[in-house]
């Protein structure tokens, strides 16, 4: 998958072509710099490494500084590798949001917001017990039975239970691009994308 790196700015709503109010996400996408081109001969596979968002020189380790120097660019914060990137991307090239077009469909990858330790109702969408009557006392959001008895005498692996929720890599498929604004490096996508405002996103074409 080829694509570019972006940063989620926030959400707003706009009036679409037919006048409908459409919720959309504003993303600062690019400019990204090609910092490494991997080939089958040298690395065993083909890929392109993109870098995004300027970092402070003093917060960059010396090995990374050298890495960025090879591409002749300032230190960056986020490095992402893309397989099957266009072969015309060469070391030091700048990839802007121009790479995407209006009315295209893309996948957006982000890290979802961390929710902490959550029960099964929030985490897996269990419906809970559903009522307060029939002797219910304090089991309203309990998971219920987690398996049978003497056979199989164990709880099966992968049983959905309470636990850490969110904070995971999530991919939103088939998001519609409403607008590409190349001068401001802004990308407007219909609907919501994973992650908090200010978090990094991968926009896959």
């Amino acid at each position: 998958m080829s694509g570019i790196i972006g940063k989620k700015i926030g959400m707003t709503s706009i009036f679409g072509v037919d006048g409908k109010n459409v919720a959309c996400t504003v993303i600062l996408a690019g400019p990204c710099v090609v910092t490494q081109v991997k080939t089958i001969e040298t690395d065993g596979y083909n890929a392109v490494q993109l870098a995004f968002d300027d970092a402070k020189e003093k917060n960059t380790s010396n090995p990374l500084k050298g890495h960025f120097k090879k591409a002749n660019t300032a230190p960056k914060r986020k490095l992402i590798e893309f397989r099957d990137a266009p072969s015309e991307w060469k070391l030091g090239d700048v990839v802007t949001v121009d790479y995407l077009k209006d009315d295209q469909w893309v996948d957006v990858v982000g890290e979802s917001k961390g929710k902490g330790f959550q029960g099964v109702v929030k985490r897996h969408g269990f419906s809970g017990v559903g009522g307060q009557t029939h002797g219910q006392h304090n089991r309203g959001r309990a998971p219920g039975s987690i398996g049978s008895s003497s056979f199989p005498s164990k709880v099966f692996k992968g049983m959905r239970m309470a636990g850490r929720t969110g904070g995971k890599r999530v991919k939103a498929f088939n998001m519609e691009i409403l607008k590409v604004m190349p001068e401001q490096n802004i990308l407007v996508i219909r609907g919501s994308v994973p992650g908090a405002n200010g978090s990094y996103l991968i926009i896959e074409k």
Binding site: I9, I14, F15, G19, N21, V26, K179, V188
Partner: protein, 120 residues
Amino acid sequence: MDAIQLVQNEFLTKKEVPAFKAGDTVTVDYKIKEGNKERIQSFKGVVIQRNGVGATETFTIRKMSGNVGVERIIPVHSPFIDGITVNKHGKVRRARIFYLRQLTGKKARIKERRHFEHSK
């Protein structure tokens, strides 16, 4: 935040909206699509609040239809709005006059503000 404003300006069609606030009586002409035909329907009532800023600002408008109160929330910059006319400026002390929902009949009247200068 700045980027969001840029996007909003990009999509916004500039239209003149008269100055009005909570307590004012306004008539909103909005377009309704029925199949291929488009017609205009008006809704006259009291503005009970304005909510939000910029391109996503909305206002709530309330009228009594017979004995039933009807409220509509309308985006200020909605392209479906054909026009907004201010019929009367009301004299109210707050920006959100939800107390009007509890009042009926003669108590639900709002005094008119005649001599004033709008800050907007």
